[in-house]
Amino acid sequence: MRNAMVRLEPRREPSRVMLYATPFVAFVLTLLAGLVLFWALGKDPVRALGLIFITPLTSVRGVAELLVKSTPLILIATGLAFGFRAGVWNIGAEGQFTIGAISGGAVALYFHPGGGPLLLPAMMLAGVLGGVAWAAIPALLRTHFNANEILTSLMLVYVALLLLGLMVQGPLRDPQSYNFPESKLFQNAALLPALIPKTRAHIGFLIAVGVVAVAHVLMTRHILGFMVRVFGDAPRAAAFAGFSEKRMVWLSFAISGGLAGLSGLFEAAGPVGQLVPQLPSGYGFTAIIVAFLGRLQPLGILAAGLLLGLTHIGGETAQITMSLPSATTSVFQGMLLFFLLASDVLVNFRLRFGLRAPVGVGGN
């Protein structure tokens, strides 16, 4: 960086102001890049951004859909944040989501068409356990064989998606589906109660908010949160303090896998109402962005989940009314993460302008 016009100077301590300001900086930069992108695609940029970020908030249906889309994002990201903070990288939430939907859905289909008031809790339990079981594989491979959990958890996403296809063609297929790969429609007892009448918004959102509150307390007031932070910031110190790395890996995967499984079940028992191969639609990957955008803190994740949920619906609206490709949303989300990571440099470094280093800093 010698002789550069702009230099990076390390801060003694990370800037708290920047830590909370950079998500907004990243969001504004994404909007600007979005303007350019739409202009390049020959679409009216102002209209497109309006459709994506404002139109969904102007109707009850739009708000309800926002809750539907942000519920899995918030749930999964809250779980992932534990591991990411401790340096445990579960990238396979999409797979745990899928297995949660299969196992929870299987409980519903087993009792079809019956089922009392205990059916939904049983399905939720099965969904959580399914997610935990799928997440336990990379955890085990890491703790016993030292296999990189990023690659193993990701490989298991592909396996889980194929497993879902196998299930809805075989054991869980609706016999009356004329060979379509899909399960029976869930019975009423297996569907999540609506949160807003006559919309798809379901009580899963309330549970997600509850999970955020619990996670917030755990992170800030409980020994677990302290352990997680020590592991992330100073793994050696954690070892000296007697915190077991294996326990941390297991815990991270259990929490994130369980919450991903639960949100998979919510998706099946909520907006979709059956098991279909298209059920997993990328929430597990988008949640990674949500976790980072929310600064790996539960309350931040709540806000980030709502924001990215908004881009999901807005993207769909823009797709229908302006015939924008469906991939527009993922480009936006990718850019958002880029800009966030790029502007994060301001948290740990200070920008210095000019040719020479200030007196007393540096040795050149």
């Binding site: 064989f145 490989m155 063609q169 962005i289 991939a327 949303t329 480009v331 790029a342």
Partner: protein
């Protein structure tokens, strides 16, 4: 087994392995320089689309493959900008690169599905005789040559020595005057170009058409292959051929008389990757996580120059 069948299987093996070899070889060089780029999948899929679009627009392979390489390089350099200049977390940046690449290629590729790039000429079109020549193409030969060249450059040249010095200990390399950031940017450009070429091999030679997300996890398998190879090009070649073999098994299972669901067969490459990761990671005994696999010692660590 007839001679023709054996030759056909061998050619199919190489065709299936080539994109993996290209992408993994690029990542191997990147990791040797001390950078972990998890965005291989994103760079590959961008290369697949760029190459395909360039071929359909210009009709020329001599423009299509360089276009794919260039697009991959840009992606690699974008990762470099984030992680080497702006010092972002490499794991998160790599994931962002993959998500961004998958999205961007799908966005621009939305109108290109259903077109074809035309059949890529095999070696017999160049006048070479034999049934093996009918199954192979010039890019396979180029890829095999690149494996040898990479091994040579890494172990026998000054360039390779500098690259490895930067990857093993960036502070020491910096202290004796090697430009750490510049070396890593070059490595990332190389890795991106190779991933782009690997992607283009999929969309121009193997299939040859464009579908969004057509890489289907091959970028991630390439990353696993680098671990499998213990950062050695010839072992990487062996690993990629193993995966090629699994793909062949998938394609010819009916011919072999296996009665297994298509989905179960499709799981095989991913399950094999898991098995390979477990086997490789455990066979190195105890020690610290990096030393166990002979990984470059500075792999994934952030470098800031102190002067």
């Amino acid at each position: 087994m007839s001679m023709d069948l054996i030759v056909g299987i061998l050619a199919g093996l190489l065709v299936a392995a080539t994109p993996l070899i290209l992408a993994a070889l690029g990542e191997l060089v990147v990791e040797k320089s001390g950078v972990l780029n998890l965005g291989v999948e994103g760079m590959m899929v961008i290369g697949a689309f760029a190459g395909f679009a360039a071929k359909v627009l210009t009709g020329s392979y001599l423009l299509a493959f360089p276009a794919a390489i260039f697009a991959g390089m840009l992606m690699g350099l974008l990762f470099g900008l984030l992680t080497q200049i702006l010092l972002s977390n490499q794991v998160a940046s790599g994931l962002a690169l993959t998500l961004f690449g998958l999205g961007l290629s799908a966005l621009f590729g939305a109108g290109w599905t259903g077109l074809t790039a035309g059949a890529f000429p095999r070696l017999n079109a160049l006048g070479l005789p034999g049934s093996l020549a009918a199954g192979l193409d010039v890019l396979i030969l180029l890829t095999l040559a690149l494996v040898v060249a990479t091994q040579y450059v890494l172990t026998r040249t000054r360039t390779g020595l500098i690259l490895r010095a930067v990857g093993e200990n960036h502070d020491a390399a910096h202290a004796i005057g090697y430009p750490v950031v510049a070396v890593r940017m070059l490595a990332l450009a190389f890795g991106g170009g190779m991933a782009g070429l690997g992607g283009a091999y999929l969309s121009l030679v193997q299939t040859p058409f464009w579908v969004e997300r057509m890489t289907a996890g091959r970028g991630w398998i390439a990353l696993a292959l680098v671990v499998f190879s213990a950062w050695r090009p010839f072992r990487l070649l062996a690993g990629a051929l193993l995966f090629g073999g699994i793909t062949i098994l998938q394609l010819h299972s009916q011919g072999f008389g296996l009665k297994v669901d298509a989905q179960v067969l499709a799981m095989l490459p991913y399950l094999a990757t898991l098995a390979v990761l477990v086997f490789m990671s455990r066979s190195r005994g105890a020690g610290n996580a990096a030393g166990r696999l002979r990984a470059p010692q500075s792999l994934g660590k952030v470098f800031t120059s102190t002067t």
